[in-house]
């Protein structure tokens, strides 16, 4: 338990140090091993040219980048295409989600209209039914769209992005709505007096002031989209159009133990951009996560 009272420093004995903070370090080390070991294991497997699961059990016995090169030379598993698809689908979905969510949050935060409360409640309610539950209906809907508009139907990435945009208003809007409310309304008032219209206030003033929450929502949406498997696996059937989640899953489920180190290399490369972004924006994300809980 934390003791905020400052203890006057005497000569610290080892026992005392251990009682105060030493044991905490032990816990810390145990947790770090628990948390980081699987990731180290993947890294080690990816550097092991002996591609099997058994061969990966000697940690960092060899360091060799062969797998990373081999990954891009397999016509039947177009890793490069998966990677690009994931970035594209995730990026476009995240951008549009942020934009749609911000538009709606602005309306809920700055305007008073009939149906506002009902609208906010509806968003909460709709969230309880995640899109993947309706995967059968989504599949059949896209199947129907395919007959008329093949360009946005099954097995098209645009179709998948459109489906993801269905979830744009939701938790994200709530998060943004809370943040928009912290921006003083007097700023809008001042701009209005200066003759700015609602669109200009939104695009040039508000969006800049709420940039942090836009980054958080964008990142969360990007991570969510890139990890999404259910809908992506149903919509995208052509290997060249698939995302990393779908492609790598099939890659492993085909021959787990044989392709292990290749999969590991693919996993490392897929994870690095996401983890870098995450750790870079960690502060904002944590505030975004807890924003929902603090009234």
């Amino acid at each position: 338990m934390s003791t905020p009272t400052v203890v006057r420093k005497r000569k610290p004995t080892l026992a005392k140090w251990f009682r105060a903070t030493g044991w905490r370090h032990l816990v810390g080390i145990a947790v770090v091993i628990f948390a980081a070991f699987p990731l180290l294991y993947v890294l080690s497997s990816s550097l092991n040219p002996n591609g099997t699961l058994v061969g990966s059990n000697d940690l960092f016995a060899t360091v060799d980048f062969e797998n990373y090169i081999a990954l891009f030379q397999r016509p039947q598993q177009p890793y490069a295409a998966w990677f690009l698809n994931t970035l594209l689908i995730g990026g476009i979905s995240a951008l549009c989600t942020v934009f749609l969510g911000a538009l709606a949050a602005y309306a809920f935060s700055r305007m008073r209209f009939t149906g506002r409360r009902v609208g906010l409640l509806t968003l909460l309610l709709v969230q309880m039914f995640p899109q993947l539950l309706a995967v059968v209906a989504i599949f059949l809907l896209l199947n129907g769209i395919s007959d008329i508009f093949p360009a946005i139907g099954l097995d098209t990435q645009i179709g998948l992005i459109l489906v993801y945009l269905g979830g744009a208003l939701g938790v994200n809007t709530y998060l943004m709505y809370g943040f928009f409310n912290t921006v003083p309304a007097s700023i809008d008032e001042a701009a209005k007096i200066d003759g700015a219209g609602h669109a200009r206030i939104f695009f040039t003033i508000i969006l800049r002031l709420v940039a942090p929450i836009l980054a958080v929502v964008g990142l969360l949406s990007f991570i969510g989209t890139t990890s999404e498997f259910v809908i992506a696996s149903i919509v995208l059937t052509d290997p060249a159009k698939q995302t990393l989640a779908v492609g790598l899953f099939q890659f492993v489920s085909d021959e787990t133990s044989k392709n292990w180190s290749l999969f590991a290399a693919g996993a490392v490369m897929a994870a690095i951009p996401v983890m870098a972004l995450f750790l870079f924006l960690q502060k904002y994300i944590v505030s975004g996560l807890t924003a929902g809980s603090v009234k």
Binding site: M1, P38, Y41, S56, N57, A107, A199, T256
Partner: protein, 529 residues
């Protein structure tokens, strides 16, 4: 904020949007331009879509499309619907891909939609006729050249009278101008090509006319085609099929299929509404009820235990690291949240490798070559799943608990100390209740998330080990959402969209109920303070 209220009825809409009354803020020139361009693009796409729908003859969708486009134009051209201008784009997608699909799921749950029942009755009749083709005895041979265009094979046939026509799978013969050996725009297949595509070519049946009862042309060798006729004759008046060979009559008994008196059904059937059949089946059919009950119980246990274990570990760590005297807390924190930053679909796959019974690191290295069936024994697989989810989930709980702990004001703790509370007392009586108030909503949403944690289950065990005795493809670690996926798209037992949607509706009811009760309870918690 009242100045911003888009109160209807205060100002009459101007006759034309170009005439701007200077009562509100003026629009800048660039603003007007952007608006005009955006609206033009929207309308261009909309009108194109409507045109396609019109040609396709989907009148219901066409009507909805017209209405939607008119509403959108009204919103953006009128001066009044200010909130709608901002809400429309998001709501548009929300209505189609979230609300509509949920309602549609509800509809499918009351049909027999699925493999063998995935189309209309007319399609089913045509398919039955096409499937029961046999060669007509002593019918003349047609000279055949197989041609292809963009990978699609077609038959170029010369009938006994010397007429040349072209047709393909589902495309009735049409007369063409050709000598019967080649056709402009089509590539003639060589003998080798035919050998390489033997199976595909011998599976093609080209309808003679629009009427399936006239029979179809098929080829056994790729050089000559013969007339095949259906052994099943459809009679529209009695709405039944009669088998020409045996005389059995198959009639429509209202089950979405043609069946004989003995109960033998012709495939395919067609989609009909079956009322509560799917729900009834789920709770009365022995082979489904038992496994389904197991899945429901495990889903609850999994979601609850996941939240409990991750929260316990996260809270414990938050308390341990929440001591200002400790050095290097930042480093520990960053390393501890690594699992949260690692893409979740990969984590489960990595753990599946680590826990692999034969070759995995855990068995081979940590346990020195033991043979523990981590993912293949029903009980151990459940434990493994909870363990992996603990690894995946504790960083999130650690983060939110840390945030909530730091939000507790120091003077409250101070006051408790003055009143003589000891560490444990402070934690139990002061910190925990305060934490619970702010974290309860997050715990509920975490429960709801884990209730549908598809990726973890599917990628780690794929729901296995499989329960062989069950009537649906279900395993010991399946939760409801993976069951929905397997029943709907599984390769094992065929697709049953109706049953899968019924399960989805059950999930929805459960999650909504739990969430609503949970949110109400938390409000009670807040009232105490």
């Amino acid at each position: 904020m009242t100045q911003l209220a888009g109160a209807p009825g205060t100002t009459p809409a101007p006759p034309a949007p170009a005439v701007r009354r200077r009562e509100k803020a003026p629009l800048s020139l660039s603003g007007i331009l952007i608006k005009i361009i955006a609206l033009s693009v929207l309308n261009a796409i909309g009108v194109y879509a409507l045109f396609v729908l019109f040609v396709a003859g989907s009148w219901l969708v066409f009507g909805l499309g017209v209405a939607t486009l008119l509403v959108l134009d009204w919103i953006y051209l009128s001066r009044r619907a200010l909130p709608a201008k901002y809400l429309a784009p998001g709501v548009f997608f929300l209505v189609i891909f979230q609300i509509f699909v949920v309602v549609y799921t509800g509809y499918i749950a009351f049909t027999n939609y699925g493999d063998g029942h995935n189309s209309t009755k007319d399609d089913a009749i045509n398919a039955i006729v096409a499937k029961s083709l046999v060669r007509v005895e002593d019918s003349p041979a047609y000279q055949l050249t197989v041609v292809q265009q963009l990978g699609t094979f077609s038959f170029l046939v010369t009938d006994p009278d010397g007429e040349v026509s072209l047709g393909g799978e589902g495309r009735p013969l049409e007369e063409v101008d050709s000598d019967g050996t080649s056709l402009d725009g089509y590539e003639t297949l060589s003998f080798n090509d035919i050998l390489n595509n033997q199976e595909a070519i011998s599976a093609i049946s080209v309808p003679l006319t629009d009427n399936p009862s006239d029979g179809a042309l098929r080829t056994p060798d790729g050089t000559s085609a013969f007339l095949y006729e259906s052994t099943l004759l459809y009679d529209e008046a009695s709405d039944s099929f009669t088998d020409q060979a045996t005389g059995t009559v198959y009639s429509d008994a209202g089950n979405g299929e043609f069946a004989s008196a003995e109960g033998e059904a012709l495939t395919p059937g067609w989609t009909i509404t079956v009322g509560f059949d799917n729900f009834v089946r789920a709770v009365t059919d022995e082979s489904i009820r038992g496994p389904l009950l197991g899945v429901v119980l495990w889903t609850f246990a999994f979601a609850f235990l996941s939240v409990a274990t991750t929260f316990a570990l996260g809270l414990f760590l938050a308390i341990v690291f929440n001591d200002s005297r400790m050095r290097g807390r930042k480093v520990y924190r960053v390393l501890a949240i690594l699992p949260y930053a690692f893409p979740s679909f990969l984590s489960a796959l990595v753990w599946a490798g680590l826990l692999n019974p034969q070759f995995g690191f855990v068995n081979n290295v940590l346990l020195g070559g033991a043979d523990v069936p981590w993912l293949t024994d029903p009980t151990l697989a459940k434990i493994s799943i909870l363990f992996v989810n603990l690894w995946l989930g504790f960083p999130y709980m650690f983060l939110v608990c840390t945030g909530a702990l730091q939000a507790i004001p120091d003077d409250v703790i101070e006051a408790a100390r003055v009143d003589g509370a000891r560490n444990w007392g402070i934690f139990r009586l002061i910190k925990l209740p305060l934490l619970m108030v702010s974290l309860a909503p997050l715990l509920i949403s975490s429960f709801a998330f884990n209730f549908n944690n598809f990726n973890l289950i599917y990628m780690l065990t794929a729901g296995g080990p499989r329960d062989i005795s069950a009537g649906v493809n279900v395993g010991a670690t399946d939760i409801l959402i993976t069951l929905v996926y397997k029943v709907a798209f599984g390769a094992v037992a065929g697709r049953d969209y109706g049953l899968a949607s019924a399960f989805a509706i059950i999930i929805f009811i459960v999650v909504a109920t739990v969430s609503i009760i949970g949110y109400r309870r938390t409000r009670v918690l807040e009232d105490i303070n």
